[in-house]
Amino acid sequence: MQQEIIIAGFGGQGVLFGGQVLAYAAMDTGMEVTWIPSYGPEMRGGTANCTVVISDREIGSPLVKNPPLAIALNLPSFDKYESLLATGGTLIVNQSMVDRVAKRVDIQSIFVPCNEIAEEIGDKRLLNMVAVGALLTALPEIGLKDVEKALENHLPAKHQHLLPKNFTALRRGLEHAQKMPA
């Protein structure tokens, strides 16, 4: 078993933390995992991405050219990863930040209005958790409970009061994605 995920968006959209939450969940369920950020100078105010590889054996390459799973939180990321996604893969697209429909028909693009859902919950910063929740529809190795537990276990004490809203964001994202026609 190996799963590869790229999460991409603007700096400030919680791209790196979104990936870390998945990495913690994978680790806590006993799997091997790598999390690697793009750490170039372009990070300042520009695009950011991270790659998460989850496996049941020693992980080789921490970088992936054609991931089966990706989250695109803005239009430049949608443009880039729609073309790079592996055939049959699933792309979670932040509908709030894109103004076009999917081009490829050999992948599943799931559009989720992450910003709007996050604002409904009461904190626009939760958009990354909405997207991670949506991704779980295509990531059977990690359940909603695993991600919730990972947040509980690893969120610093000063942020623990944010857990309920994070849980809501994850669930709303997952539910939205499950409702989308396959």
Binding site: Q20, A23, Y24, M27, E32, V33, T34, W35, I36, P37, Y39, G40, P41, E58, I59, G60, S61, P62, L63, V64, K65, H154
Partner: protein, 371 residues
Amino acid sequence: MSRELWKGNEAIAEAAVRAGLEAYFGYPITPQTEILEYLSRRMPKLGRAFLQAESELGAINMVYGAACTGARVMSSSSSPGVSLMMEGLSYIAGTEVPAVLVNVMRGGPGLGNIAPAQGDYNQAVHGGGHGDYPRIVLAPASVQEAIDLMALSFDLAEKYRMITMLILDGSVGQMMEPAEMPEMRSPNRKKFDWATDGALNRDRRVLSSIYLDPLAEEQTNFRLMQRWKEVMANEVRYKEYFLEDAEIVIVGFGTAGRVSLSAVRAARERGIKVGLLRPVTVSPFPYEVLDRLTGQARTFLVVEMNTGQMLEDVRLAVRGRVPVAFYGRTGGVVPFPDEILDEIQRINTEPVSAEADPRQSWLDRMTAIKA
């Protein structure tokens, strides 16, 4: 101990603390600055020395001074910063004191960029500072291995009174992986019979790298090389993957090695008998195992994130008995597994000429693709 998600650079810093690091001297440079940042918080809390020097030259010479007292001491930097340290490193080697240096390598030459690279292999393994001196060089490929080797590096440096370097590329420094930390070791300093740690009630000791008499310097060089013989006999480390029946053997260290592992698995799924040898010590280099594998392998493929530096050590071990091919990405580019898989498939179908220069063949292919 339970597994925690550690970032490579921070894991190295904590592993050094737990191995009994008494003093750290350094200067910030991407992509290793987290080592410095982490230790700037951690060391003072433990009553240990952390100092951000005025430059890399200052830092390495502070390491030199502290090392003379027998303290567990280290510095860390990235490629251009390590270049600045080379004079000090040679003095440390000439004085025969133990010290640890971490190089989180980035794209070069020159100022280059901050992306992952392995272009400092030759500097670390063969060259660097002036004069004849051997040094131990460890090349971790994962966060756990970086932790384990960090602890080992101090033991090796002290055992052989020798510089031990950790070379890793920026991606190992920046990535997070689950890893277990060793227990905190007692920071009790060993009583070395050479250390200048206060001459109360004993004869004074002198540590220096100056031997004005060439014959004395020659004796020193002999002594260093005799000690190196022991290192070669005792300290070679490597990891083997799918080598039992491998006809094609990939050799790669650090990140190039672990990316190759993905390619080897993909090639195995296609029925190609390929395996991977990943040197963990690149100095001492695992010549013997390569010599043994030469009887089994019909072709070697060296994969590096440079233009073919370890390649020369592999060729030295293989001694022309079977062809050696090369594949590299350089300048801060990390290869993807499918590029290496393409190389494996090409080698598997078209025999590699033993006469061809592996670096030139690779360069011709690369520039043909680009053109």
